[in-house]
Subunit: 269 residues, 2 copies
């Protein structure tokens, strides 16, 4: 008897159809308040692109615009190679559900590329935080399902009190542990709690409008990371008239910056 | 006799064709080393979307992936409304030049939305720099044409010496002055010199692969800014195996954060 698949592998499982289309299902295991967790949608879109046999190299950037709600049940992902160059490829992907004018639930663009052993340097510094082993795993039974798919560890609960700024650091790992790959890294880029929750000291209605990810690691660096927890840092620059931005960093073993990520989030007060 | 149009208006002038397509020309006035300045391409794509009569509200985010070189001469921009919601719209745009498999030069996604007078707060702080009037305009006759379309003022020339970090601040204005609008703001988001030039103290081959812009101001805020110079700040997190990231902020009058921007840039060493 083979062991049950990891919930993440279950969530990103896609069936190839004709003409670069894939069939999948929205994931109850990664459910957020009113639809799937945005990170899992990003992972599904990336997984579709990674599954195309023409794919060249590793992901360099991924942008996902969340156009409308994703409902429970089946969806299709349409992928298109927009242009192939010598060392980079430009892809687009569209997540469709149902028929009609509002069938587009998410649109994405990605760049794939080959990396080269040239002069490299990390200028940013990882945040200071107590060791993973010294901190308790965040436990909020009332939180949406997707939070239970992660092992998140903070020095102080991000919901404890109103923060004077939105900076926070935490440990991030899949739960149960799972060796890191690009879809999992993409998903983890959306795991930072909306900065406005920290600033207002309460939950307010929010929705990510656009999620942007830059990958700074190749497949070999992700293999080296394995299932070790990553260190995350996040902050906000501005909350303005119904939209705020959020910037995140995901650090791996050996102070290696694996990804930087940005999102713009709709909010209501 | 009417005065000559501003070079920026000349550059973003588009002729509407059928079915959401527009005809334009690459701009010699905004030429970079081997093709048009990326900011002007972003502005042209945004201008096409702004010209669609169905457009709702103001731009919230714009992502442009630079798929291939743009040559001198005519191009077409194909725009598509992917989904329209109550207060947001999701658009895509493709810049095409010539025929055949390599006709896609750039692809873009944008979110437009209406803003609401809700709780707002700017958490980031503008960089410290001497007043605009106290600094000389950067003058480098050997630099590409697009640099002469801007009035850029630094406390110390970014090319003077090798920096120990990539942070820099500068004043940014269109030259000659021009009242700020969304295409001009998008264009200015690409004006920060590639951080690797600062770190290496010399020019190295680079090319922006993906440019991401979050707009934090509505049309009224841009009108208030008028043609006053903006204050810019930029930094890099990591240079890794042929790609580095770059983060920028554009500040307006009264410490108003007008836009934040990110890009991932290919480099060779």
């Amino acid at each position: 008897m083979s062991p049950a698949p990891h919930p993440f592998d279950e969530a990103i499982r896609l069936e190839p159809l004709a003409d670069g289309e894939f069939a999948g299902r929205s994931s109850p295991a990664y459910w957020n308040m009113v639809g799937p967790y945005g990170g899992i949608t990003a992972a599904q879109l990336l997984q579709a692109l990674m599954s195309r046999p023409e794919r060249l190299g590793d992901p360099v950037s991924l942008t996902v615009n969340f156009a409308g709600p994703v409902a429970e049940g089946p969806f299709r992902i349409r992928t298109e190679l927009m242009r192939s160059n010598r060392s980079t490829q430009h892809w687009s992907a569209t997540l469709l559900q149902g028929d009609g004018d509002d069938s587009v639930a998410a649109i994405a663009m990605a760049v794939f590329g080959t990396r080269r052993p040239v002069w490299s340097h990390t200028e940013a510094r990882p945040p200071a935080i107590a060791p993973y082993e010294a901190l308790p795993r965040l436990s909020r039974p009332e939180a949406p399902a997707f939070t239970r798919r992660y092992d998140l560890r903070f020095e102080r609960s991000p919901f404890e009190s109103i923060s004077t700024d939105s900076r926070s650091a935490c440990w991030i790992a899949d739960h149960p542990p799972r060796p890191l790959d690009f879809p999992a890294l993409a998903s983890a880029c959306d795991v930072f709690f909306p900065r406005i929750f920290l600033r207002r000291g309460r939950l307010v209605p929010v929705g990510t409008v656009s999620l942007n990810i830059y990958f700074h690691a190749d497949a070999a660096a992700l293999a080296e990371q394995g299932s070790a927890p990553m260190l995350g840092a996040a902050l906000c620059h501005v909350y303005q008239s119904g939209y705020f931005d959020q910037h995140g960093e995901l650090w791996g073993r050996g102070e290696r910056l694996l990804a930087t990520t940005h999102q713009i989030v709709w909010y209501r007060e």
